[in-house]
Assembly symmetry: C2
Homo-oligomer: 242 residues x 2
């Protein structure tokens, strides 16, 4: 929170920042091949080694993806491997089939105090709220309530959500040009209220895993706040601590 | 699951592996300064740049710690910053005081099927089981049941646990030479049984966060299996998704 004195930033970091700007500006779009190291070195007037180091870091942070013998691509939510990055729920029986998303509702509202704080917008600003279920092998396991800033998600409708074949983030990427870069999740155990219990076909009071997430795009800008309630009888939330 | 053809390993990776061997053999101990990049380059007959790249990766994986102007040290569980790596529980009021560990019991048993599988030992092998509470600001918030392989933790006693001022992993490091490198946690929501409810001063059936952890030392060897039950009324489990 304190203002630090300006510190020395190595050259490759400066190149990395310029590359993030190009990503942010949409010069290079999700799933697209970016220019070669040689071309980037010429563009930024630095050595190929410096470009490589910048790409190393961007790949480690999942902003870029290196493909052997093909070049470097902008990461995309359409990549099936991208799903696990943001959904840590794993079936105990090891079945890795993707869950099916069933949108229930999509409505417009004014941001309350908490939503405004979480999304970095003003109280009373337009937000769009989505409720949906995730089904694994046909069984409802997750109920999500998702709060989105109206400014970005203006045109989002229930029909659009229902028509989409793919993950929510791949829809956001395709229709709203939005890349999710990182998220922070807060986990707690809570008792199911009546409505959630009915949807998940369990008794009221059943212990559920509550997962509150704030998701950020480039520049640490929050663009989604959601609360998921997970039934963990046959699934668990997997976390690797390194 | 398929057997891959042997792949090319870059030189710095080979140096990294040799350095891990030195760490594993105890040549460089937790908290100690390792030789300079120049000395390591001479020892392995490679360039300083190659050594630096190996150290970069070992630092990114939290095996080594670079200290500005001082050199590179072996990571240690005595470092106060090390605690959050393995305990993701955060008070909602933002109080970052370290929790107090209260050991309750420490006994010897024969490994059952599940403990043997989790710890990579044989059924019937000696294990040591520890029960303890974590208190935040005096209030019990976590009950841990910890299963340890007898082969490594032979001399562990309740008295040793009670006399120790510091984290459990710093005790394991000091008394048993054990470094915890990474862990995998599986989270679920469960209802408190009577005994746990009494310890945590809540009603039986109260939703609790169940955190099952397997912890690994060098060489991906499991050395601890534990189950924690977390009361999440005033705390949450924080996870960063990158």
């Amino acid at each position: 929170m304190s203002v630090d004195a300006p510190t020395f930033s190595p050259l490759y970091r400066q190149i990395k920042d310029l590359m993030i700007q190009a990503l942010e500006a949409g010069e290079w779009r999700p799933g697209q091949l970016i220019p070669s190291e040689q071309e980037l070195a010429a563009r930024f007037s630095v050595s190929q080694g410096t470009v490589r180091k910048a790409i190393d870091e961007l790949a480690a942070e999942n902003l870029l993806v290196r493909k052997q013998g093909k070049g470097t691509y902008v990461a995309s939510h359409h990549d099936p491997r991208a799903l696990f990055r943001f959904l840590r729920l794993v079936p105990m029986d090891g079945d890795l089939a993707h869950p099916e998303s069933v949108p229930l509702e999509c409505w417009r509202a004014k941001a309350g105090l908490e939503a405004a704080r979480m999304l970095g917008i003003r109280q009373g600003d337009l937000i769009i709220i989505v409720r949906r279920i995730l089904r694994f092998s046909g069984d409802p396991v997750v109920v999500d309530e998702i709060y989105l800033p109206g400014e970005i998600f203006q045109g989002l409708t229930l029909e659009m959500l229902q028509d989409w074949r793919g993950s929510l983030y791949s829809l956001f990427e395709t229709r709203f040009g939005l890349r999710m870069i990182r998220a922070q999740e807060r986990l707690r155990a809570v008792a199911a209220d009546r409505g959630t219990a009915e949807i998940l076909k369990v008794k009221e009071g059943k212990p559920l895993l509550s997962v509150e997430r704030v998701t950020y795009t480039y520049g640490d800008k929050p663009v989604e706040w959601r609360r998921g309630l997970y039934l963990t009888d046959d699934h668990f939330y997997l976390n690797e601590l390194n």
